[in-house]
Amino acid sequence: MSAATMRVALVGNPNCGKTALFNQLTGGRQKVANYAGVTVERKEGRFTAPSGRTLQILDLPGAYSFDATSPDEAITRDVCQGRYPGEAAPDLIVCVADATNLRLHLRFVLEVRRLGRPVVLALNMMDAARKRGIVIDVQKLSQRLGVPVVETIAVQRGGAKALVDRLDAAVPEIVPSPIDEATVDGLHAEVRAILADAVTSTRNTAAIDDAIDRWALHPVFGLAILAVLMFFIFQAVFSWAQPVMDAITDGITALGAWATSFLPGDSALHSLLNDGVFAGLGAVLVFLPQILILFLFILILEESGYLPRAAFLLDRMMFKVGLTGRAFIPLLSSFACAIPGIMATRSINDPRDRLTTILVAPLMTCSARLPVYTLLIAAFIPNRSIGLFNLQGIVLFVLYFAGIFSALGVAFVMKRFRKDRSEHALIMELPSYRLPNVRDVALGLWERALIFLKRVGGIITALTVLLWFLSSFPGAPEGATGPAIDYSLAGMLGRGLQYVFAPIGFNWQICIALVPGLAAREVAVAALGTVYAMSGTDDAVATQLGPVIAHSWSLATALSLLAWYVFAPQCMSTLAVIRRETNSWRNVAIAAGYLFGLAYLASLATYQIARALS
């Protein structure tokens, strides 16, 4: 079978370096998709071995045991057993084990061996094991296990050579599975016996881990380090990304202008390309720099082993309101954009905790709200200092915290409503610290960028085109005096909406702007500009718009609109991602329903109170 394709499945405990090994084997040639009907990722790649044989590698989710407690583990088990619908049983299972953590990982190897399929054991992180003075008698280990054993160093170039050679050789003989259904204690006893026979080690943990954890997990310093780190990341996301974001906006505007310069300026096609397609493209791409910078930090922290420590520090606080420490990173990501935040909830294994996190993520103040916040604050809030602080700054701060506190509140309420009251497990491994590998971080970033663009690009472009249609047709009649949008379908919708929004103080111009603003929040500023018959770049519109709205809206209306933007789900892409990640329209309806409800109530209260006081 030298020319045939061999299907190889990689399995192993979480943190065994499996994905690094996968990257090492397949390079960039990998395909990421979701398993049908579940959100667990399916990663596959292929490479050609020296003999010319094609090897197809499937990277299965990390598992501690076939006695599955999460969808990830269930998939790994089912694929290994050849029971997963639509996935053929692998020809060979490569079981990856961390050589510095054999006591835990060998037990899973024994479980895999029980399947009675061809198995090769890859002893990964051999460099770290040697450094720690762990001596492994590979020959003896192989003998005791009855499976071939190879040494690998996944983070080193050529570190998988022994594995490739082994895979390239004939498929190892099928190991007869032991008939005994050993108990848990039995398996552990076997591991102990094998370790005693084949492994000698001097110490249990790396000295560096103990030293770092003394500070990183310290009740006071640990929290301080975390706070400084978060502050730094925030700074980086907002300040480093700005120049690139500006360049992207300018670039796409220029590209749109060039591409449409061959068309008559007043044609529908010109308008469709310029205001529909290119505007939509720009609205998506402009967030890419922030998302990439944020994920760069998250991937580095994840690879280094710090993230579970952050979750450890915050678990208690978040558990009280019905979340988990693991929800911290997804919620942090949501400050840049809720979409990657919701995607990051995959690291939460309890499905209930994960759903709660997904549903509250849109409340984190994402960067798309900033254009609206800045416009309104600049126009209505006097630029005056109160003590040490600036009044405008205080308002922005209040808006951010309104989001955070409402998220905690909503999570707390959801906890009350939950029918399933069984215990939520934390049980989280804190892996050894290690230096992040440049190649693995780069591949990870590339993957996130692709997922973001694919998921969001399609939907937002389609919606922008739809909204362009709504706000362009039918056109203004002969001799019309108002702006064209007023006579369009969007205009009619907006005027209809006014009946609903009058109690919260929105005039018809705001109502019209809300319609295109549904696709993405930042479009609302441009739409307001259109309604007030202004044109030009976003910045120019915003500068002209300030004085106009300051003159024509009441303060109560402005405050009400700010309150609306804290809560309202004015972002189709977020709803689309919730649909993708939870595979349920019901959850989309719950999210949209409660967010609109909160927005309306908050605006109503703000408007009525502000009006009564003025």
Binding site: Y64, S65, D67, T69, T100, N101, R103, L104, R107, V184, D185, H188, S201, N204, T205, D209, D213, L217, H218, P219, V220, G222, L223, P308, A311, F312, L313, D315, R316, M317, F319, G325, E423, A425, L426, I427, M428, E429, L430, P431
Partner: protein, 81 residues
């Protein structure tokens, strides 16, 4: 003694893991992860707020366990039998 009550830094040996209710998945997972009779464990650190969760070292692995999870594990602390 329950692992959740063990003093910080103390060396202890697992006696057993008790199911909090029949077919307790958390207890099962703890056993799978190596919390079985005779294994040495050590409480390395406590969370910053209310001392929860706990950081438990077993073999060369460190796990964060909430107090309610660690309470399922019976241990014998060295020198305090």
């Amino acid at each position: 003694m329950r692992l959740s009550d063990a003093p910080k830094g103390a060396q202890a040996v697992v006696q057993s893991v008790t199911d909090a209710h029949p077919a307790d998945p958390i207890a099962q997972r703890l056993r799978d992860l190596g919390f079985v009779a005779g294994e040495p464990v050590r409480l390395i650190a406590r969370g910053p707020l209310g001392g929860d969760p706990l950081l438990i070292q077993i073999g060369s692995t460190r796990f964060a366990l909430r107090k309610t999870e660690a309470a399922r594990v019976d241990v014998l602390v060295d020198g305090a039998a």
